[in-house]
């Protein structure tokens, strides 16, 4: 069991992106743009027909909606190291991770619209996306998605592959018992798992310092004798660099790691959340990681106007295609409401 003191990277150090291939950084950018374009489209569709007023149960997309705008660096930076053979379990805020991991956009969107061509034929909804093709899953019960990743990792290793499982949850989730049990078990059995904590400073309305006794979840890696690192500045290059050795360690059969990223919840906890509790809600967009990264890549000569427009256009095409697909898919037949309880 490798024990390593938790470290923390910050933007003060030499930029982690400098050593990366321009193409790789372009890919990170494009992934983030695709995620954001998707969330903006879902936002639009979600609110399109909730009125008059706001009725959560109404509209083409009913129910709770947790969007991930601002957290794209985590998804892009981590998933760049994975293939569709690797697994991801996410929580109630799963879209960016699903997209970055390559879940089929059409099937995912159809699920969010509750249609028969959805990943779950309309049974699951946006907190319950299951894609066997990319081993993607998520759960609406905070932290309870972690243990499943252990089982996937266990199966991967049992089959003598070098596939890995990534378990993602928020900083709020890191105070739940399932987090502790999962990390201890993974460390004990040296399972190929990378645990990722998205610290967006909030668990709904509860700020991080009212939920978590320590400043960094990375120090909690010590409690399991595994490497832990916190990326402080929501920088996709830094996430990419921090995740690399963790994924490599898992692939090499050396066991799990814990990565925390200090990221940003740009919007409300869920749609409809007025965020009255949030002092920074007026100026939070100043920290939007996508324009910041765009500027950095322009400065580095990786991006120009054309590439930026192309990325936006590509993303829009894919996203609008998925939304059209979803809308064209049939709503499930009520006579099938009790199907799929048992195989």
């Amino acid at each position: 069991m490798t024990t390593q003191a938790p470290s923390s990277s910050s933007s003060g150090a030499a930029s982690p992106g400098q050593s990366m291939e321009p193409q790789a950084r372009l890919d990170l950018y494009r992934t983030m743009v695709l995620c954001r374009t998707y969330e903006e489209a879902i936002l639009r569709e979600y609110h399109a027909d909730k009125g008059p007023g706001f009725d959560i149960g109404k509209g083409l997309i009913p129910g709770e909606m947790h969007l991930s705008a601002g957290q794209e660096p985590v998804a892009a930076g981590v998933c760049a190291h994975l293939t569709a053979d690797d697994a991801i379990t996410a929580a109630h805020r799963p879209h960016h991770l699903a997209i970055a991991h390559g879940v089929d956009l059409r099937a995912m969107t159809a699920e969010i619209f509750g249609r028969v061509d959805g990943l779950g034929k309309g049974r699951g909804g946006h907190m319950h996306l299951f894609d066997p093709a990319t081993h993607f899953s998520c759960s609406g019960i905070v932290a309870e998605g972690f243990p499943a990743a252990l089982g996937q990792a266990f199966a991967f290793r049992r089959r003598k592959t070098d596939r890995v499982a990534v378990a993602v949850a928020g900083e709020g989730a890191a105070n739940a018992g399932a987090f502790h049990e999962a990390l201890n078990l993974a460390a004990l059995w040296a399972l190929p798992v990378v645990f990722v904590v998205e610290d967006n400073d909030w668990g709904i309305s509860v700020p991080r310092d009212l939920s978590t006794a320590v400043d960094s979840n990375a120090v909690r890696a010590t409690a399991y004798g595994i490497p832990g690192e916190r990326v402080e500045d929501n920088d996709v290059d830094a996430v990419h660099e921090a995740a690399r050795p963790m994924v490599a360690r898992a692939r090499a059969g050396e066991g799990p790691s814990l990565l925390e990223v200090h990221t940003l919840r740009l919007w409300g906890h869920f749609e409809g959340d007025a965020q009255g509790y949030r002092p920074d809600r007026e100026k939070v967009h100043e920290d939007d990681p996508i324009p910041i990264y765009e500027k950095r890549l322009r400065d580095a000569g990786v991006l120009d106007d054309e590439l930026v427009q192309q990325a936006a256009a590509d993303a829009t095409t894919k996203v609008e295609d998925a939304i059209e697909f979803a809308k064209a898919s049939a709503v499930p037949d009520p006579s099938t409401a009790t199907d799929y309880v048992f195989a």
């Binding site: 249609r115 609406g140 709020g172 309305s205 499930p332």
Partner: protein, 341 residues
């Protein structure tokens, strides 16, 4: 008289405001009461269970917690054992799986295991129910599960006045009380609501005793036994059937533990026909218990086979049409009533 007057000392409130009013009054009255849970402070409770209380009582008594349900429910138990009167909120009943041990093996059993020497005067509040496409992990009622496990009282208000009166009783009770509020009866501005989710509520102290069902609509042809949001659906159907000359009696159970079996039996003895409407899962739950209560007393009371309208042992589907198919909505209730006539 064509003007409906609000009786002296009542106002029209939503269920959530009525619930908050009871908590407020009890907190003012008793220093040992405090409220704890996720997002109960500045947010005021995801389903408005604590709106305004933080301002009034401060963060020492209206306490936001980490996402550690086992930890903070257990904390409530320990505080109750030492004589405080905690109200602890589990945001959704669906999350009981992460903390059920504290609830059913500790909160509910300590009094018994101590031979009565220790009391656990604690209220566990939690939101239940579906109908707004929140999916299989955020739409469950699960009251059958709470009620099956001995040692805790279980109350399920359906309207503002009962929400206030049962909350007052729950806080004052020396036993653990699970207080299940359906999101659909709270009168939330952002969710479809029944017109009865705003109604008259007595001012000042208002106590509804735990363990008494209520005949919310007297009738002679058929008995509908139900609870929570389904009370309103049942009343809607009863109104409709009245036009066809069917006189439906609707019983709001209000408490599952203790269960007021007498009120159920008296009604079925009168009508000879029983429909149970329950938003929890069909099998091994509330609907079976009510039907069995009649059949173990006198099956001869039933002039027709009893009917159960519940969620047909399927997780709650996300898509609207699927969800409304499995929920006990008006159409299914009407069919069931017609079937027993």
């Amino acid at each position: 008289m064509t003007i409906t007057e609000t009786p002296q000392g009542t106002r029209r409130l939503t269920t959530s405001k009525a619930m908050v009013e009871a908590i407020d009054q009890e907190m003012a009255r008793d220093e040992s009461v405090f409220y704890m849970g996720e997002d109960v402070g500045a947010y005021g409770g995801i389903f408005s269970s604590t709106t305004g209380l933080l301002d009034k009582y401060g963060p020492g008594r209206i306490i936001d917690t980490p996402i550690s349900e086992t930890g903070f429910i257990g904390l409530g138990i320990g505080a109750a054992v030492e004589g405080m009167r905690p109200i602890v909120e589990l945001m959704f009943a669906d999350f009981m799986g992460v903390c059920l041990d504290q609830i059913y093996n500790h909160m509910a059993k300590i009094h018994f295991e101590s031979g009565g020497n220790v009391t656990v005067p604690m209220v566990l509040t939690t939101a239940v129910g579906g109908g707004y496409s929140d999916g299989a992990q955020h739409s469950q009622c699960l009251w059958g599960t709470f009620a099956h496990l001995p040692g805790m009282k279980v109350v399920v208000p359906s309207n503002p006045a009962d929400a206030k009166g049962l909350m007052t009783s729950a806080i004052r009770d020396d036993n653990p009380v699970v207080y299940l509020f359906h999101k659909g009866v709270m009168g939330l501005p952002w969710m479809a609501k029944n017109r009865r989710s705003t109604d008259e509520v007595p001012e000042g102290e208002h106590v509804v005793p735990i363990g008494e069902a209520k005949v919310v609509r007297p009738g002679s042809d058929v008995t509908v036994v139900t609870l929570s949001l389904s009370v309103h659906h049942s009343l809607d159907v009863a109104d409709k059937l009245a036009e066809d000359g069917v006189d439906t009696e609707v019983i709001d159970l209000r408490s599952l533990v203790p269960l007021d079996r007498d009120t159920v039996l008296e009604s079925v003895r009168k009508t000879g026909r029983l429909v149970v409407v329950d938003e929890d899962y069909l099998s091994y739950g509330v609907s079976g218990e009510i039907v069995a209560t009649v059949a173990e007393t006198d099956p001869g009371m039933l002039r027709a086979p009893a009917q159960r309208v519940a969620v047909p042992d399927v997780p709650i589907p996300y898509a609207h049409d699927l969800e409304y198919t499995v929920l006990p909505r008006q159409d299914r209730i009407e069919r069931a009533i017609r079937a027993v006539l």
